[in-house]
Amino acid sequence: MKIGVFICHCGENIGRTVDCVRVAKACSFFPNVVHSVEYKYMCSDPGQNMIKQAIKDLKLDGVVVGSCSPHMHEKTFRKAVSDAGVNPFLCEIANLREHVSWVHDDKEVATDKAIDLMRFAVEKVKRNAPLKTIQVPVTKRTLVIGGGIAGIQAALDVANAGYEVVLVEKEPSIGGHMSQLSETFPTLDCSQCILTPRMVEVYQHPKIKLMTYSEVEKVEGFIGNFKVTIRKKARFVDDTLCSGCGDCAIKCPIKKKALSEFDEKLAFRSAIYVPFPQAVPNIPVIDKEVCTYFKNGKCSMCVKVCGRNAIKFDQQDEFISEDIGAIIVATGYKLYTIDKKPEASEIKGYGEYGYGKYKDVVDGLQFERIASASGPTSGEFQRPSDGKTPKKIVFIQCVGSRDESKGFSYCSKICCMYTAKHAMLYKHKVHDGEAYVFYMDIRAGGKMYEEFVRRAIEEDGVKYIRGRVSRIYEEDGKYIVKGEDTLAGVPIQIDADMVVLATAMVAQTDAPKLAQTIGMPYDNYGFYSEVHPKLRPVESSTGGVFLAGACNSPRDIPDSVAMASAAAAKALVLFGSDMLEREPTIAFVNENLCAGCFYCKKVCAYNAIEVKQIKDKNGNVIKEVAFVNSGLCQGCGTCNATCPSKAIELIGYTDEQIYAEIAALM
């Protein structure tokens, strides 16, 4: 190999503390170095031309530039080398500016260090292989996971830009939690009134393929080239035949066996049901668990009343494969459960508030349903136990949030606002009622938010008490709420008719499962992680996967919608070009050496390692070895370090290259 060395003075930047002439001279004595020069500005045109000329004249096949950080000009020099006909990956950069001249004062010492760094680079380049960047095409279709307000917004934005969208929702209808809300803060406009037109727009959009009652089963591939398998769960209703007349649900004899998910278990629903009247699509599903037909085959009332023969008891789950370029994850949140057994095992739950055993101690979404005109009480405030109008309601904030003992230490962000709204809605309907809010801090940062909370206090007379409640117990039909006003320093005891717990927004129970399916990171709480909290807030660190809404952290409607539009914009940026370029730094397997322990597979964060069977000429499997899917491999090299026999190595950072650098220390 013939290596050329080029030392840049960077004006005075390197030259001031590094004796560039001495460095160049020292390098000329390194084995294989046939050319070693220094120049004022290597990155300038004349500088680059020096490199090109030397390559041509001396038939160099390796170049080391001693200059600024490779993060600055590696691309520049690699291009110059490439222009001169040498593979760009046979060019290495030694960082003589950021790592030497700018951080040391003593010229002697700095020059010595510069020579060392040059030696590392020369030793490494000797072992570099000529590589090719990988070019991959982009499929310009987007998968949106989750049909709440964030998913709806993202789907519409992408579709309106002219690209196809597949919107997957696991429930029978899109709409998400927003469809359950009564009114929205701080404007108190009716949630369904602003949401349903959007839901219909999604349904009718020619570019959106809506798949409700469906879940993402498998995600293979990589940015621009995902292959996604979607499980379309059996509805037992043929959606091409159903006209949405609703007769089946009306006639279904199962009336009091199943609690309505939409009404947060405050009302019953039939076995065949549409979750709520405005559901999109307006096609029912059959709940197998309670349906008499599935239990003993004795009922088929829905079949009888369906004029279009749409009921299909023998329907099976379907698996649909889609080619996708970008994924927008908008899977939202769930509410902290106040029952004794919240799903996460480390969560203890609130025994002191009764673990959900008191009927009139409800959570935030239950109260939304009670307050909602479309809810089980048609918007009349009635308490669940006996239907009486509560005259005294206590609201307790921060249940499950800001509580590392029983829930999560984060602030759930929206509860201050929704509690103020709840108290306000109640006071508007029950004029002689008393509303008390136990809070720790009021966090009302948002447009017109603080004003909203103040209105609840000043105009509607909601009493705010600063303190956490210690205990609730039932006595003679009242709920004794024991608290302390920490501002006055006095104990407070309220005999309430009803208690509303402002339960926290928490990650979906299956959030980690989806993250593992897609191969993207999530935090300790189960929320999906963004690459950078400030500058790249809607991108997951997995290429081509973007985040929208509360799946990333607790978020209210305006924030979720803004984030959804941002995620849509990121997908559209990706669709701006037809091809993607990727670094060729990926792992490869020496199949002869691979013993098939698959530690590489265990540590790979990208599912890039596959199992390959080696067969003899008769087709018998001799052994199983690891195989790298070059489309998925991101080049971290964790597999390389983990492999005990080094049967898998990372191109560009092979053991041999690194060994050479270490050896160059002497």
Binding site: N524, N592, L593, C594, A595, G596, C597, F598, Y599, K602, V603, E624, T642, P644, S645, K646, A647, D655, E656, Y659, A660
Partner: protein, 287 residues
């Protein structure tokens, strides 16, 4: 003890296996491993206090693999190796028929009377006297002699020493190494196609029996077994230079337990120690 010959024969006659790995007696106080490929070859099979070998080492050998389904007589400690091999995809569960042995301890070496003094060190705190995984189980567990855990004491003693003192101990021990690789040969979990010590480009580990090569080899050997070693101690028994290899292996197992509550070879379905991680792994030593 159950009639093991009958059991072994039945494995053949019932068509469960094509070959059986077991022990045969050499004289009263010695055994050797034996691969029976026909029912009648099992007639000399024996189980006694001298079934020291961990037969699982053969399970990954090509010569044995060619027989297809193999039966194996395995003590609880040996089964731990089977579990580890399953975790590491080296064998398939359905290809191995495990005759688990309820074990009451074995001798530290051949040619000695079994007693509290001669019991093998690995037996002292054995928690798998009944194997964790088996297709059939033979024998019963009985009272086992108690003895002093000298190795543990030694580890604790070393831990309390200064770095320089520790270094001197191991320099001396590793210096004895002649790079015969008997340790590697005896280890059921050293199944690499090519050991890193044989990798020549680059040569991470000096191949000659030099001090620094020995040092690297012994450390990397221990590290490659960290979180995997199941403590059968065959390496130490095999070492002709009597290097106390189990000190390192055991120390690593102790770290695995202290840091990650991980004990190797108990459950084929648990993720391996290296190869998995926990967000809450210890951080204190990192600035």
């Amino acid at each position: 003890m159950d009639d093991i010959k009958k059991i072994a024969r039945e494995l053949f006659t019932s068509g469960k296996v094509n070959a059986v790995l077991g022990y045969v007696s050499i004289n009263g106080q010695r055994t050797k491993p034996f691969l029976a490929t026909k029912p009648e070859e099992t007639d000399n099979f024996i189980i006694n206090k001298y079934i020291l070998n961990n037969l699982t080492v053969y399970l990954t050998k090509k010569e044995i693999l060619k027989y297809g389904k193999i039966g194996i007589f395995a003590k609880g400690c040996d089964v731990k190796a089977i579990v580890a091999l399953l975790q590491e995809s080296q064998i398939k569960r359905e290809e191995v028929y495990i005759v688990g042995i309820n074990c009451n301890g074995v001798c530290a070496d051949f040619d000695m009377e079994f007693s509290g003094e001669t019991i093998a060190l690995k037996c002292l705190n054995c928690e798998v006297r009944t194997p964790k995984l088996y297709d059939e189980l033979i024998g019963t567990t009985e009272e086992m002699p108690k003895a002093d855990d000298g190795k543990l004491k030694m580890i604790r003693k070393i831990e309390a020493l200064s770095s320089a003192e520790k270094w001197d101990i191991f320099e001396e021990q590793f210096d004895k190494c002649i790079k015969c690789y008997a340790c590697r040969q005896a280890c059921p979990l050293c199944y690499c196609e090519r050991c890193i010590s044989d990798k020549s480009v680059p040569r991470w580990i000096e191949s000659s029996a030099s001090k620094r090569g020995n040092f690297s080899w012994n450390i990397i050997r221990a590290f490659h077994l960290a979180g995997r070693c199941i403590g059968c101690n065959e390496c130490e028994r095999a070492c002709p230079m009597e290097i106390p290899l189990s000190l390192l292996n055991r120390k690593m197992a102790m770290v695995a337990q202290e840091e990650f509550k991980y004990v190797s070879g108990l459950d084929p379905n648990t993720p391996t120690l290296i190869g998995s991680y926990d967000l809450k792994d210890d951080e204190d030593f990192i600035e």
